[in-house]
C-alpha cells in the first residue's frame, strides 16, 4: 500500500517508460497520514474519504492522480523524514494529510522551503495559519481556536455563567481551552477552575472530576479526543455529574467516531464542531450515503476533511493548476459548498473559513445521534502575526 525502496525503484523504471504517454497531466499526490499508532483510525477515515472525494470530483478533471502514501506513525521526526522523501525522492506535486499538530510543526519549514503545497487535512495548531503560516500550507480542516471560540458567547447566551475547564496538558489542549475561555470571559462568563491532566498518561480522570465537582461551576467545558474522550465521558457520567453540571466541550469529545463506545454516557453532552454527520443539506446527504456505501461507517469530521481535501485539490486543478507552483497559488483560492456548508479560504492565513455547528448527542432509533442545536456563522481567525508572503516558485 505504500511505496518502498523497491517499489520506488520499480516506479522509477515504469515512470520513465510512461513519461511520454502521461506527460504533465499527471498530478502526483503524497499522502502523509498515521496508519499506525494512536491516530491510525483517524488516518484511515481521512484516507478512505480522500479516495472517495477523488472518485466523486476527480474523474472529469482530465487529470490522473497518482497517490504515494507514507505512514507518519504520529511521530514528528518520522513525519519529517517521510515528507523529505515525498518531496525529494517521489517528487510529488502536492501533499495531503497530517493528523497531529506535532507532525505539522515538524514539517512546516521543510514544506515551506521546498515550495511544495500541502493541504492540511486535520492538524489544527493555531500557529500553522498564524505566526508560522506559509503560502504553501493550506488548511482545509479547522484551527483549534476556530472550533472553540464561538462556544464562549453561545454558552453565556444559554445562561451558563461559571465554568470549570479540563483538557490534556499539551499544546492543542491549551489552545482549544484558551480560545474558549477568552471568548467566554469576554462575553461575561467566569472560569472558576482549570485542570490539565498529563497528556496520554492519564487513564483515571476521577481525581480531576473531584476538583471540578467541588468548584461550584454551572458547567464543565472540556477538550479530549480519541481514547481519552471515551474514558472521560464515561467517567464523568459515572460520578453522576451530568445532572448538576452539564458537560460542554469541543466537538471532538463526542465525535461520531467514538460516540458508540461512550454509549448512554454521552447523551446530553453539548459540543461544537465544524462538521456533524446529521447536518441537513443535500451535499452532506450525498456524502454520508456514498461514504457509508464505500466503508460501512458513518463519516466523522475526519472523513469530511479528507473528502474536502480531495475536492479542494480537484478544484485547484480545474482552475488550471498543473504543478507545485500553480497548485500553491490556486489552492488558497478554492471555495465551494460541501457537506459542512459554504467553505472558503482566508487569503490572509490560508485557513478555512467555515460555520461551526453546536450539537447535542441524543438517543436515536439506531443508537446515538447528533442533534444540531445551532449553526454559528463562519468567522475568519485573527491573523495572529501571519504575514503571508507570495508563493515564490
Amino acid at each position: 500500500m505504500k511505496s518502498t525502496i523497491k517499489a520506488a525503484l520499480a516506479g522509477l523504471v515504469t515512470s520513465t517508460a510512461m513519461l511520454t504517454a502521461a506527460q504533465a497531466e499527471d498530478i502526483k499526490v503524497g499522502i502523509l497520514l498515521p496508519y499506525s499508532g494512536v491516530y491510525a483510525a483517524l488516518g484511515q477515515d481521512i484516507d478512505d474519504a480522500f479516495a472517495l472525494g477523488l472518485e466523486t470530483y476527480g474523474t472529469d478533471s482530465g487529470v490522473t492522480f497518482e497517490i504515494v502514501r507514507e505512514d507518519t506513525e504520529v511521530k514528528p521526526p518520522v513525519g519529517l523524514a517521510k515528507t523529505k522523501k515525498l518531496i525529494l525522492q517521489d517528487e510529488v506535486d502536492v501533499m495531503v494529510g497530517v493528523v497531529s499538530s506535532g507532525v505539522l510543526g515538524a514539517i512546516r519549514d521543510t514544506v515551506d522551503g521546498a515550495g511544495v503545497p500541502l493541504i492540511v487535512a486535520n492538524a489544527g495548531n493555531d500557529e500553522a495559519t498564524g505566526e508560522a503560516c506559509s503560502p504553501y500550507i493550506t488548511r482545509i480542516s479547522f484551527s483549534n481556536q476556530q472550533v472553540n471560540r464561538p462556544m464562549g458567547q453561545w454558552m453565556v447566551d444559554q445562561g451558563v455563567k461559571k465554568v470549570f475547564t479540563i483538557a490534556p496538558d499539551y499544546a492543542a489542549g491549551r489552545q482549544m481551552i484558551d480560545a474558549f475561555t477568552t471568548a467566554f470571559t469576554a462575553a461575561g462568563g467566569e472560569v472558576v477552575g482549570q485542570e490539565w491532566p498529563a497528556f496520554q498518561k492519564t487513564q483515571d480522570f476521577g481525581p480531576f472530576l473531584a476538583n471540578a465537582k467541588a468548584s461550584g461551576a454551572d458547567a464543565v467545558y472540556v477538550f479530549f479526543a480519541g481514547g481519552e474522550a471515551i474514558s472521560f465521558v464515561k467517567q464523568y457520567d459515572s460520578f453522576g455529574m451530568k445532572a448538576e453540571m452539564p458537560l460542554y466541550g469541543s466537538g471532538f469529545l463526542t465525535s461520531a467516531l467514538y460516540v458508540e463506545a461512550q454509549g448512554p454516557a454521552a447523551e446530553g453532552v453539548i459540543t461544537a464542531l465544524h462538521y456533524v454527520p446529521t447536518l441537513d443539506n443535500p451535499e452532506n446527504a450525498a456524502f454520508v450515503a456514498a461514504f457509508k456505501a464505500k466503508t460501512g461507517r458513518i463519516p466523522s469530521e475526519y472523513a469530511v476533511q479528507g473528502y474536502d481535501s480531495a475536492r479542494a485539490l480537484v478544484e485547484a486543478v480545474k482552475a488550471g493548476a498543473t504543478d507545485r507552483a500553480t497548485l500553491a497559488t490556486a489552492l488558497p483560492k478554492v471555495a465551494f459548498t460541501g457537506p459542512r456548508g459554504d467553505l472558503k479560504m482566508d487569503p490572509a492565513t490560508n485557513n478555512v473559513v467555515q460555520p461551526i455547528h453546536v450539537y447535542e448527542t441524543v438517543a436515536g432509533p439506531d443508537g446515538l445521534t447528533q442533534k444540531v442545536l445551532a449553526t454559528l456563522p463562519a468567522e475568519a481567525d485573527p491573523v495572529n502575526g501571519c504575514a503571508m508572503p507570495a508563493a515564490t516558485n
Binding site: 499506525s36 494512536v38 491510525a40 483510525a41 484511515q44 496538558d169 477552575g193 485542570e195 490539565w196 491532566p197 498529563a198 498518561k201 492519564t202 487513564q203 483515571d204 476521577g206 481525581p207 480531576f208 473531584a210 476538583n211 465537582k213 467541588a214 468548584s215 480519541g226 481514547g227 481519552e228 474522550a229 471515551i230 474514558s231 464515561k234 467517567q235 459515572s238 460520578f239 453522576g240 467516531l257 467514538y258 458508540e260 463506545a261 461512550q262 454509549g263 448512554p264 454516557a265
Partner: protein
C-alpha cells in the same frame, strides 16, 4: 476546595480504586517472578486482551459473561504462551526473557489491531452497579466501589490460599528456594504452570474490570505496563505483601500528585522509585530477606 473533607474522601477512594486495579495486575506478575524468576513484559498485553474479550462478550452475553469468561480466555492464552515460549525460556536469564516478551508486546498490539480494529471500544457498567452510593458524605460511583471490593476480596483469597492451604505452602516454599521445594517432592513444573495461568487470569480479570471505566484501545497494555512494573519493583519482586504495598503507594502518589502537585506528578513516582532503588535495591518488602 482542598479544605473540604468530602474532597479528601473522594480522592482517597480514587486512589484506592487505582491501587486495587494495579494490585490485580501486579500480584500475578510478581508471584510469577518470585517463583519462576521469569519477567513477563507482556503481562500488560494479557490485561489488554482481557479487556477486549470482555468488551466483545459484553455485546453478546452482557457484562457478567465477559467478567467471568475473559479471565478464562486469558488463562487459556497464558497456557498457550507457557508451552510455546515461557517454559523453554525459564532458565534463559533475564535479558532473553525481557526481549522475548518485548517482542510479544509488538505482536499483541498488532494482533488486537487486526482483530478489533484501531477504534477504541467502550462497554457500559453493569446495570446493578450503575449510579452512585453515598459514602461518608460523598457520592461515589458504585462500580468503582465494586473494583475496590473485588481487589480486597482477591487479596483476601490469595492471602488465605498462600497461608492456609497445601498449595500455598508449596508456593511459598518454591519462592523461598525452588531447589529445596523440588527436593521435598513438589511437582515444581506443575506448580509453575498453575501459578502462571492464575497470574494471567488475574490480569484478564483486571482488564475485564477496567473495560467499563476506561476505553479499550490497542495500546492499553503498553500504557499499564510501566505502572505495573513500578509497583512490583517498589514493593519487592516476588512478594504478595510487596504487591499490596507497591499498589497502594503508586495509587496514592499518582492520585494526590495529580491534583496537588500537577507540575511534578509524572516525575514524582519515578523519583520515589529511584529513592527506593537507592535505599533498598530489592524493594520495600522483598520475598527473600
Amino acid at each position: 476546595m482542598t479544605a473540604d473533607l468530602g474532597f479528601w474522601v473522594l480522592q482517597m477512594l480514587n486512589a484506592l480504586q487505582l491501587s486495587m486495579l494495579l494490585f490485580l495486575l501486579s500480584v500475578g506478575l510478581t508471584v510469577i517472578f518470585g517463583l519462576m524468576h521469569f519477567v513477563n513484559l507482556a503481562h500488560g498485553s494479557l490485561y489488554a486482551f482481557g479487556a477486549y474479550v470482555a468488551a466483545s462478550l459484553a455485546g453478546v452475553l452482557g457484562y457478567w459473561g465477559g467478567f467471568f469468561l475473559a479471565p478464562l480466555a486469558v488463562a487459556a492464552m497464558g497456557a498457550a504462551l507457557y508451552f510455546t515460549l515461557i517454559r523453554s525460556q525459564r532458565r534463559a536469564g533475564p535479558m532473553a526473557q525481557v526481549l522475548i516478551t518485548f517482542g510479544l508486546i509488538f505482536v499483541a498490539v498488532d494482533a488486537t489491531r487486526l482483530v478489533w480494529g484501531d477504534l477504541p471500544i467502550g462497554i457500559a457498567v453493569p446495570a446493578v452497579f450503575e449510579g452512585q452510593l453515598s459514602l461518608l458524605g460523598v457520592e461515589y460511583p458504585i462500580y468503582r466501589l465494586f473494583i475496590i471490593t473485588l481487589g480486597l476480596a482477591v487479596l483476601g483469597v490469595l492471602t488465605l490460599i498462600l497461608s492456609r492451604t497445601q498449595i500455598g505452602a508449596m508456593i511459598r516454599a518454591g519462592v523461598d528456594n525452588d531447589q529445596m521445594a523440588a527436593c521435598l517432592g513438589i511437582n515444581v513444573e506443575r506448580m509453575f504452570f498453575l501459578v502462571f495461568v492464575v497470574g494471567c487470569a488475574l490480569a484478564g480479570l483486571a482488564g475485564a474490570v477496567a473495560a467499563p471505566v476506561l476505553s479499550v484501545t490497542p495500546d492499553m497494555g503498553l500504557q499499564i505496563l510501566i505502572p505495573t512494573l513500578i509497583v512490583i519493583v517498589i514493593g519487592g519482586l516476588g512478594s504478595l505483601k510487596g504487591a499490596v504495598a507497591g499498589s497502594l503507594i503508586f495509587g496514592f502518589v499518582q492520585t494526590f500528585g495529580a491534583v496537588l502537585l500537577p507540575t511534578l506528578s509524572s516525575v514524582l513516582i519515578y523519583a520515589l522509585l529511584a529513592a527506593v532503588l537507592v535505599a533498598r535495591p530489592q524493594g520495600l518488602l522483598p520475598a527473600k530477606g
